[in-house]
């Protein structure tokens, strides 16, 4: 159970950076008053951030990922969360088999 000093420093640097981002928003809203426009911007943040994180995987990785992403989105409108995740995982595995890795 050894911990390398350089690795420890890197982990601490990552932790400090991450904590700063987690606290950052709380500090920000203490100094910015929330009006109509700010509220509209804040409400758009959740879907915009989530979409940005998944867009490269869902849209430009390959047809298997794109089709599985669409299937997951459709499943999400009718099925509970875990079942929808299963639809995504199973369909991407099958599609990769069928379409092959050359895509």
């Amino acid at each position: 159970m050894s911990v390398d000093l350089n690795t420890l420093l890197a982990i601490l640097a990552m932790a400090v950076a991450t904590v700063a981002t987690r606290i950052g928003g709380l500090v920000l809203i203490r100094y910015v008053t929330i009006g109509e426009n700010q509220k509209r911007a804040l409400e758009a943040i959740p879907p915009a951030v989530l979409m940005a994180v998944i867009a490269p995987t869902a849209l430009v990785t390959g047809p298997a990922e794109t089709i599985a992403a669409a299937a997951t989105a459709v499943a999400a409108t009718r099925l509970p969360l875990l079942a929808s995740v299963a639809v995504g995982v199973v369909s991407v595995a099958l599609l990769r088999q069928v379409l092959g890795g050359a895509w």
Partner: protein, 238 residues
Amino acid sequence: METGTLQVRNALQEFRAAAIAMMPLIVAVMPIGLVFGAVAAAKGLTPAEVTLMSALVFAGGSQFVAMDIWTHPASWAALGFSALLVNIRHVLMSASIGSKLDGFSGPARYASMLLLADEIWAMAEMRASNGKLTPAWYAGLAVPFYCAWVLTSLTGAMVGALLGDPKVIGLDFAFPAVFIILVMGFWKGSETGAVLAASACAAVVTHQLLPGVWYIAAGAAAGVVVAMLSGGHKEAHA
């Protein structure tokens, strides 16, 4: 005394209900934790180092990116900066959820933000929009999820070689799948569609043009700009 006991019982019930609501996401994060531990072990990190990173950083996206750029010896400056960039979205998330923490004391606000992760934040936003987000509810979302992440990372680091390639069984897709489902939960009509389209376009274009994780910041910015423009448009007509 009696009201005190009642409050504790209510808090426990809320914690339990939140943990149950969180269960599907906990199950979904477990394979991701296992894969992370396995990838990190393959990069030469010891199980102790893997556990330490998952416990202190607790941000899957930035941990995977760190494994991509890991060197021996590790460069704290490069890894710290990349974590800052990948996790800059947390600023937006904590600003958004921070305005909904009415029942939280000052220290509890900051303490709760230490465990802010995408999935916890999304579930907390849901709770705030259709119920009351209390500290007990937040803890019920965050603590079990945190424990699952740390423990599965450790397990992955120890048994990683046995897992094989996660891509073959599609487990690497569990993470994007959860996000797609969460996005669908935020759908509120065509205005959401415009925000999502702008975010997706900006993210894909930036991802093709720039290395690293600027695409997340670009997509978020584009979505917010579109939301503000469409709002302004409506006001001009009113």
